[in-house]
Every structure is written in C-alpha cells, then in structure tokens.
C-alpha cells in the first residue's frame, strides 16, 4: 500500500472520516443536531469534490479489491449529491416530526459509504460488505420515526425481506466462489465461458441475480417496495428510491455489463422478462393508488423495469443509458419526494391525490416544481426523463429486443396517466389543503436546483453523456 492508493479511494476515506466525526460529535457534544447537520453537509461536499477529482484514474487498488476512478467515482459523486439533497430536505421534515436527531445524518452518511463501496467494488466480498452496510443503515432509517406504527412495520418488513434476500445473494457468491476458486469479479467474468460448464456457476449467477433484483425492487421481488416507501420517513423513501437503487444497479452493471463480458442468451432472456414484468406490474398498479407515496413506489418499480431493459440489452449504449437514467432519476425522484415531505403534515396528512387539488393556486411555485418532476418522470420530451428512456430503449432495439422497447414505450404512455393526473388536480380543481407552517428557503432552493438540473440535462443531455462515455 502506498499514498497513491490512499488518494485513489479518497472519496471513501473522506466520507468514513466525516461519519466518524459526526459519531464522536454526537457522543461528546450536547444538542449536537445543528452542528452535525453542518458537518455532514460540508463533508458531503468535500466527498463529492474528491469523487470528481478521482474520475480520471484507472485501475484497481488494495490487492484488486476496489476499482479506482471512472465508474466508481461517477457513482460516488451521484451518491454524495443524493445524500446531500436528502439531508438538506430532511431537516425541515425531521423538525416537523419531532425527530431531529444526529443519528439520522449519521445513518445517511454510513449508508452512502456502503453505496460507494458497492459501486467501486472489484471483488464480490466488497460488494457484499457495501450492500450490507447500506441495507442495515436503511433498515434503521425506515423505522426512524419509532413512535409511528406504520414506520415500525415498514422497518420490520424491509429488514426481514432484505435479510432474506441477502441470504440468497450470499449463497450465490459462495457458489460462484466454488465454481471459480476466487471472488475476483474480472477473473470470473473473463473466464465465464470455461466456468459455465459447472452447474455451480449458473446457480450462483441466478442467486446473485435474485439478490440484486430484490434490492432494485424488480418484479417478482418487489413486494416490499410500496409498504416500505409508504411507511418510511418521506425523505428517506426518496433516498432509498434513488441512492439504494442506483447502488444496486451499479453492482448489476459491474457483473452483468462488465466490459470484458458478453452476456449469454439465457441471462439476456431472464433480464428481459424481469424488466417487462416490472414495467407492466409497476405501471398498472400505480394507476389505482390514492396515496402519492405509494404511487411513487410503484412508479419506482416501473423505472427499475426501464433500466433493466438497458441491462438486458447488454451493450455499451445500454450501459450509458442506465447511467444517464440513474443520474436524472436521482434528481427527479428526490425532488418529488422532497415536495411531498415539505407539504406533509403530522399523522400522514396531505399525502393523497385529493389533498393536492388546487395547489397550483395556493402555492404556485411548489406546484410548478412538482409538475416539472412529474413531467420528467413521465418522460415528456423537454425534460431529462425522456432521454433516459430513449437511450435504454434504443439499446434494447440494437440488441434485438424490439418487443421489450415497444412494451416500454406502451407502458410509458400508461404512466403518463397517473403522473398527469396529479398535475391536472393541482391546476384544474379546487381544494382545501391545509399548508400553514413554514417551508424553509433552503429546501425551496435545493428543489429549484434539482428542477433546473433536470431541464438542463433534458436540453443538453450531452453535458453528462460525454462524461459517461469517457469513463473507463
């Protein structure tokens, strides 16, 4: 080990140190919420800076345990920004729910660390550790409002099903190790043609796929998604839908879209079927929801389906599409959940579609932001959501999965119904939403920036595409 290796994993080291500082601050300082909020914000900005600075690096570090720069750094940047947005938006929300404790920021930081480890893993052990670090923190965050029965239930469901899925993932890792004698990802991928003679390899790969499919919330492993998103603190739901999903997709891409690999037809078919099922189930059930949080949960299942289409395609364009999609999805989904969290009142008030009627007259600015996020989620052209879908579907067509692309477009049309329903309610119907109480300027500023980024990425998608295409 030398200093260059330490610099190469600077984002990971930086967020670890920040988390430990926050931990000690909470232990040693009384009433530390305000202080640790600022330490977390500054620490995440520094981490994002290190992540961007390490982008051009190539190679692996620490005995081929982690990859350096490129892909991992891009995701590290994304995770830091997602955590930053979540923490800033959470402050108002936590004060409203009388649960503004330092542990919240701490758990967000630790789970971000887990996500970064997952995205920069070069070894199955690191993927496993990162996944568990992320998941265990999210189990606690889901039940953070511990006096609410709904939150307790969400937490328990997430925990039991998550640990169950971990069992499968781990068995998959064990069998892949048995087939190959190593846990190094590139070795396994490069020798997949010889290793595929062993039944362990196929069973292991299948179990691994189940574990990841669970974490991204793809059908048929999606049962937990709506309940957990509904019961968790609203900003945490946004973090789960973006950060945790992006981390699981990063691991997916590391194994199934490895540059030196060519997915076999069987894997491709399985991924395509999971993708199609997620799109259909997510979109159809989302229509019948009356709670917006639940609607967004089902829509996140559908979005996992769109991204899996890029994974099933298995080509370079599919990879680019998934990365672009994840970036845009992070901003629009944290934005949508952020607005929900600002308008939510105690005992889960203001969360149904009917509550949002007439918001366009009372709070025109918030309603406009919500409309932007909804249009982008629906994939309507001037916004970034459109290009994400466009790239993954084109990738699917290039890989002879035209039926999947057609299904995806059809399902996007279905999804327009429920996204626009909210917009129509906000602007064309009278309502009596109770929205007294403060909405802080910081939260509004953060949401505005998220909306601007979505518009910017929609108008000039090449600004981020160039970065993605130059990744090693």
């Amino acid at each position: 080990m030398n200093i260059t290796e330490l610099f190469a994993i600077a984002p990971i080291i930086s967020i670890t140190i920040v988390s430990l500082i926050v931990l000690l601050v909470e232990a040693l300082v009384k009433r530390s919420e305000g202080l640790s909020y600022w330490i977390s914000v500054v620490g995440l900005v520094v981490t994002a800076y290190f992540a961007i600075a390490t982008l051009p690096l190539i190679g692996t570090a620490f005995n081929r345990m982690v990859t350096v720069g490129g892909f991992g750094s891009m995701f590290a940047t994304l995770f830091s920004i997602a955590a930053l947005l979540t923490i800033i938006l959470s402050k108002d929300y936590l004060q409203k729910e009388h649960a503004n404790f330092t542990e919240f920021y701490l758990l967000i930081l630790f789970s971000t660390l887990g996500m970064m480890l997952m995205a920069s893993a070069a070894d199955l052990i690191v993927i496993f550790l990162g996944l568990e670090l992320m998941s265990i923190c999210l189990y606690v965050l889901a039940g953070f409002l511990r006096k609410k029965v709904l939150a307790n239930e969400a937490s328990l469901k997430y925990f039991l099903l998550g640990a169950f899925a971990t069992g499968f993932l781990l068995y998959g890792i064990a069998l892949l190790y048995g087939a190959s004698g190593t846990t190094n990802i590139s070795f396994i991928v490069q020798n997949s043609s010889t290793l595929s003679a062993s039944p362990f390899f196929w069973i292991g790969l299948g179990l691994l796929l189940i574990g990841f499919a669970f974490k991204v919330g793809a059908v048929p492993f999606h049962m937990w998604v709506p309940d957990v998103y509904q019961g968790s603190p609203t900003t945490v739901s946004g973090f789960m839908a973006t950060g945790a999903k992006a981390a699981a997709f990063a691991a997916f891409v590391l194994i199934f879209l490895h540059p030196q690999s060519e997915n076999s037809e069987q894997v491709k078919t399985v991924l395509a079927v999971i993708s199609a099922a997620s799109m259909i189930v997510g979109n159809i059930i989302a229509i019948s929801q009356s709670n917006i949080k639940r609607m967004l949960a089902y829509s996140s299942i559908a979005h996992a389906g769109y991204m899996l289409a890029g994974l099933a395609a298995g080509n370079q364009l599919g990879k680019t599409g998934i990365l672009f999609y994840l970036v845009t999805y992070t901003f629009m989904n944290i934005g949508a959940f952020g607005i929900l969290s600002l308008l939510e009142r105690e005992e889960d008030k203001n969360l149904t579609f009917d509550d949002y009627a007439g918001l366009g007259f009372k709070r025109p600015f918030l309603a406009a932001l919500m409309a932007i996020f909804m249009f982008s989620l629906a994939g309507i052209p001037p916004f970034a959501g459109f290009f994400g879908k466009y790239y993954v579907f084109v990738a699917a067509i290039n890989a002879n999965l035209t039926w999947l692309a057609i299904l995806g477009v059809l399902m996007s049309v279905v999804s327009v119904y429920y996204y626009l329903r909210l917009t129509v309610l906000m602007y064309f119907k009278e309502g009596d939403m109770q929205i007294e109480g403060i909405i802080s300027k910081t939260s509004l500023a953060v949401l505005t920036i998220a909306a601007l980024i979505i518009i910017q990425l929609g108008v000039y998608p090449s600004s981020i595409l160039n970065i993605i295409n130059n990744l090693n």
Partner: protein, 106 residues
Amino acid sequence: MNFNITDIPLNSYLALSAILFSIGVIGVLTRRNAIVVFMCIELMLNSVNLTLVAFSAFHGNITGQILVFFVMAVAAAEAAVGLAIIIALFRNKMTMNIDEINIMKW
C-alpha cells in the same frame, strides 16, 4: 487420530449446507413469529458459511474463510439491528406475529 477436512467428499458438505439453507427458506416462508423468522434467516447465512468453508478447504485458498469472517460480523450487526426493530414494533403493537403486521395493503 488424523482427520482432514477433505476426507469427506465435497458433495457431502454441499448437500448438508443446501439442506440447511432450504430448511431456513422454508422456515422464513412458513413461520409466523418475527423472531423465529429471523432465526431461520441466520440459519441460511450459516449454511452459506459451511459452503464457503468447504469450498475454501477443497480449493486450497483462504478467500472463502475470510468471507466467512465478514459474514459473521455482518450477521452480528444484522442481529442487533433486527432485534431492536422487533422490540420497537412490539412496544407499539404488542405483537410479534407477522400476520398481524398488515396496516398497509395495495
């Protein structure tokens, strides 16, 4: 008494661990007490540990054993968090039956 771990064929270890894993899965799917469900999940993790150790011995490298260390540490963390979550729920609902944890549907 010179016993070597590789004296028993690999398939016996794998069969045992597959059986234990299946018992764990069936337990998770059929039992109704949250703590018993959690114990079944622990059984799954430990059966995987058996697989890893067996492979490690037969491959002659220690990667598998190292992974077992990590799995044990992770399982301990998971146990602590899991029991805390179950207690938080019990305080609010006075039940551990997962059939009664059903406020949210569709």
